[in-house]
Amino acid sequence: MDGRTNLSLTDVVPRRTFEMSTAVRMANKGGRLMAKLVSLAEGVAHLVRDGDVVALEGFTHLIPFAAGHEIIRQERQDLTLVRMTPDVIYDQLIGAGCARRLVFSWGGNPGVGSLHRFRDAVQNAWPRPLELEEHSHAGMANRYVAGASGLPFAVLRGYTGTDLPAHTTNIRPITCPFTGETLTAVPALRPDVTVVHAQRADRDGNVQMWGITGVQKEAVLAADRSLVTVEEIVDELEPVPGQVVLPGWAITAVAEVPGGAHPSYAHGYSVRDNDFYRAWDAVSRHRDTFRAWLDQHVHRAGAAA
């Protein structure tokens, strides 16, 4: 990628605050590190590890597709993939065999139909079995909120009367200590690493996003480590209406990846490639066409970069 972003990541440390190991606390003691500017390949190499709990977030908008492709290229294995809407990006990761387990609330191709790789994995264990942990959007959003808040659980009015609680131990009743009312508790999500895409970052790694910002802030703050891909790195973050700014000291690494959300979009930089989403239905329907697509558009594209 861009030469100016390939600083070393060797001194990047986890940020799981109170859960940090003593060694890490000591390493971090002298001062809070600002987010490192890295290449996408470096960022994925250092921050996404086999067996990790990985959240790639972005609610239709700002989906970190380029980072997902890099994870596929680097052949990560046994990932627990977390995402409210495992749409095309997780269809690709699942079809490529990176995932062991999926934690999610809605797995479809928005406005188009089913995710065929996801279905193939669940129905036929291809290319490998996929465990599911299934929630509602409200539950997933609150699980990230709890993670970002350093709480072990969140409370909501949700799931009641549905068959969802029967299939996981991660949905439990809780009683209000004031009214006696029964509500629902879900445990915090604490990904090992969260990856999101944003419009801009400055050279200190402060990240700015706007438009539909979904659950990205919570997903980043809930995680031990975070990687943010951005459309561009700028000298100064000009304030924008609707912006969410994440301070550089709350982020592990930032990589400049223009167009890194395609076929999703970055408000103000690109538009959603709806044709791609529609075409994905045919591409992904069969294992062969999917593999050919993966080979051409992910593996070979990476080699050319």
Binding site: F59, T60, H61, S105, D163, I212, G214, V215
Partner: protein, 262 residues
């Protein structure tokens, strides 16, 4: 939408969408899913309900899209919204406290008590015959909106005696169940299909055929229903789409194609 146009000049899907749009009262706030609900809600906003407040789960409050979005996160929704909030906020501050009047849901399976399945069909949960997308926002929309409007094509595969999985609760196993479960919204007020309109019986909570679309018979409706379908005493036939409704709907549908290269 199917392309099959009836001899009366509109398709069954168009009739369904128009009938659904008519259910939305002006000035109410409506939680809108993508697909048929979004089409119907935008048709309502473009015809009799200009002040309909559209809430999309992507966090867009009061979106006023000039064309149909393909996804609930299209840029046009954020650009035209009164406010764009985070996803946790739209569920916690807006949906959960009951601020949204109408929840607009689809279904892969629907039973006689209006319970909805969008999770798995056939086999068992761990090894289903068909894996569907799952819950999304639906369980809490069904629980917390003032009322729910369901829009779904009616056939034996969909209208089943029992849903294979309860993703979103209608009236559960019957009267009193919503109260027992502590669900604070009113539940399904109406189900709009390509054949007619069903509403829960006030006493039994069972979905009851109350209206047929023009040209549809009660026998056709029964044949498309996987249980012994109750029929209201005053079963009526609905009004066909007006020329304006059809024109606006078709113009909206055309924008979906435009949106492909938005």
């Amino acid at each position: 939408m199917t392309d099959e146009t009836t001899t009366t000049g509109w398709t069954a899907d168009e009739m369904m969408t128009v009938a659904a749009a008519r259910q939305l009262r002006d000035g109410t706030a409506c939680f809108v899913g993508i697909g048929l609900p979004s089409t119907a809600a935008n048709l309502a906003r473009a015809t009799h309900a200009p002040n309909l407040v559209l809430i999309y789960e992507s966090g867009c409050l009061g979106a006023k899209p000039g064309r149909l979005p393909l996804s609930i996160g299209d840029g046009v929704l954020a650009d035209t919204a009164d406010a764009v909030v985070s996803v946790p906020e739209v569920f916690n501050y807006w949906l959960q406290p009951g601020r949204i009047d109408v929840g607009f849901l689809g279904a892969a399976q629907l039973d006689r008590y209006g319970n909805i399945n969008t999770t798995v069909v056939g086999g068992d949960y761990g090894a289903p015959k068909v894996r569907l997308p799952g819950a999304g926002g639906a369980p809490e929309i069904a629980a917390s909106c003032g009322e729910v409007v369901v829009i779904v094509r009616q056939d034996l595969r969909t209208f089943t005696e029992r849903v294979d999985f309860v993703t979103s609760v209608g009236y559960g196993t019957g009267p009193g169940d919503r109260e027992r479960l502590g669900l604070r919204g009113g539940g399904p007020r109406v189900v709009i299909t390509d054949l007619g309109v069903l509403a829960p019986d006030p006493v039994s909570c069972e979905l009851t055929l109350t209206r047929l679309h023009p040209g549809v018979t009660r026998e056709q409706a029964q044949a498309a229903t996987g249980w012994d379908l109750a029929v209201a005493e005053g079963l009526t036939t609905g009004e066909p789409p007006t020329a304006r409704e059809l024109a606006v709907l078709r113009a909206l549908e055309a924008t979906k194609a435009d949106g492909r290269r938005q």
